[in-house]
């Protein structure tokens, strides 16, 4: 226990305190040292239109990616929850997307969505959905969707695996009773499967939700926030302010703000959904 507590204190409590301290300071390029600036960083944060833009992008990404992964994951899990030919193998294949480093997934999609020779560009052009002359990741209306596709590809199988495990653990009695009553497939799903899976769904939403909200890898390798500011997320924006623009204090303030938003959202969700471990 002692080493656990020591590690957690050293790497969670101390960094947060240091971050709070840093948020009241700013690095001065002239004097080459940190200066106390009081609440300036926090005032700047709330009047920074790029911060609000990044928050908006993060929320948009969060809502759509989470919703798509949940619905798609549930649909595929229901489809694969059977012993048809080769389904065991298919479930194994789905786990493979989870072990590819997200940064490498980002690069894979950079290639797939390349305007010159990408395979997705080709397919979309062929189907008449998106003209080849529109570069997906360099057009502000499509860039975020291009990034979201990488996330959805990598993590929908994660939802499938969780829901499959949940479906496997369901009791048989309610289904037998429903069959005697002659309930339709959709009614059975809505009235029996969904309620019984609610705990599993809640944990999946929590874990994935936290990861989606703090997403960094895909935007960093795929767009670096561009074109313009179309794909800036809170994590990327705070990282860049700190390490590219040397705004140490402001970057720390932004990252603290991200932490606060995540903690509020997650704890609200844990309270409302009554998640218990």
């Amino acid at each position: 226990m002692a080493p656990l507590i020591m590690m957690l204190v050293a790497f969670t409590i101390i960094p947060v305190i240091y971050n709070i301290w840093l948020s009241f300071h700013e690095y001065s390029l002239f004097r080459r040292e940190l200066e106390f600036v009081g609440l300036l960083n926090w005032q700047k944060l709330f009047s920074d239109s790029r911060m609000w833009g990044a928050l908006g992008t993060t929320v948009f990404y969060f809502v759509f990616v989470l919703a798509i992964e949940l619905v798609l994951g549930m649909a595929i899990a229901l489809l694969l929850d059977a012993e048809e030919f080769g389904f065991e193998l298919l479930r194994t294949v789905l786990t493979l997307t989870l072990v590819v480093p997200p940064a490498i997934v980002g690069m894979m999609y950079l290639l797939i969505e390349d305007p010159e020779f990408g395979v997705l560009t080709y397919v979309l052009d062929l189907l008449g959905i998106l003209d080849k002359s529109t570069p997906i990741l360099a057009t502000s209306s499509t860039a975020l969707w291009g990034v979201m596709l990488a996330d959805i590809w990598q993590w929908t199988p994660f939802m499938v695996l969780i829901f499959l495990a949940g479906l496997r653990a369901l009791p048989a009695e309610p289904y037998e009773a429903a069959m005697l009553d002659g309930a339709s497939g959709f009614t059975v799903f809505r009235r029996i499967t969904l309620p019984l899976l609610s705990k599993v769904i809640a944990v999946a939403v929590l874990i994935r939700g936290i990861d989606i909200f703090r997403m960094f890898d895909y935007v960093f390798v795929m767009t670096s926030g561009g074109p313009g500011t179309a794909t800036y997320t809170l994590s990327l924006y705070s990282w860049q302010q700190t390490f590219s623009f040397i705004k140490w204090g402001y970057g720390a303030t932004l990252s603290l703000f991200t932490l606060i938003v995540i903690l509020i959202l997650a704890n609200l969700f844990i309270y409302v959904a009554k998640v218990r471990w």
């Binding site: 226990m1 080493p3 656990l4 957690l8 050293a10 790497f11 969670t12 960094p15 947060v16 240091y18 971050n19 840093l22 489809l79 059977a82 048809e84 080769g86 389904f87 298919l90 294949v93 789905l94 786990t95 493979l96 997307t97 989870l98 072990v99 590819v100 480093p101 940064a103 490498i104 980002g106 690069m107 290639l111 010159e116 020779f117 395979v119 080709y122 199988p157 994660f158 695996l161 969780i162 495990a165 653990a169 705990k199 599993v200 944990v203 999946a204 936290i210 960094f216 960093f220 809170l234 994590s235 705070s238 390490f243 720390a252 990252s255 603290l256 995540i262 903690l263 997650a266 471990w277």
Partner: protein, 293 residues
Amino acid sequence: MVQSKSYRMMRTLAGWAIVMLFAFPLYYWLTVAFKDGREIFNYPPQVFDFKPTIRNFEEVFGLSLGFGFGEQREVLPGGGNWKMGPRLWDSIVIAVLSTALALTIATFASYALSRMRFAGQHHFVSWVLSTRMMPPVAVVIPVFFIYKELSLLDTYTGVILIHALMNLPLAVLLMKSFFDDIPKEIDESALVDGASRALIFRRVVLPIVKGGMAATAVLCFIFSWTEFIFVLTLTQTGLKTVPVVSSTFVTSTGTAWGNMAALGAAAMIPAFVFILLVQKHLVRGLTLGSVKE
């Protein structure tokens, strides 16, 4: 329910079609790794009809296996010299040692959490878990400055510590759920027989949770192996792991897609192998133990 033959046929086909759609990007990535330079840039993209070559692998790992096709390029795009052997080694050292550290701490701590009762225990477990909610960027900024003071930037120790920490909440929760599955009566009867706590732990409890420990270790290994932002920020030239070094293949003079794909493909192998070994424990780990199988 009695299902018609055509319904089952449709279901089988739909299942295969969807999973193949998910597998396609991986397959496509592999074809790029085995493609010769020019073939990558063909439009429409060649998906099945290409001449496989291992040149990309030879270049990336600085090997000459002698049965490559054509001349080796002297200067790679970006002018770099990408002998990736050392980078793969960095990835392995960091993943193995951080896994060992996280697993050791988590095993002792979660055995204690599983067997002892103390005031505020529930809050303590919640606190351990809540550390998993911290955005990496909120940790990496202060840690960067603390490491700078302690000269831990660019060192194995620094990255290993932070990766172990990142995996601790998951490892603790997972190990606790495996320990909770062992009936307390087993410990208690051994205690009555006069065995010490340490002896029971080593001789009775540990052998039972071996499988669970393996699963936890694999998950920690994979999370360290795939981690990006900590390595990106806390290392400069001394060491780098595969995901971070892959992102440097995009240069102003062009992207070496073939080499990048080769490195990426090679880097996936250990994680793939491990995941196949512990597949049945995988879900429990990913859901923090909330789905009991």
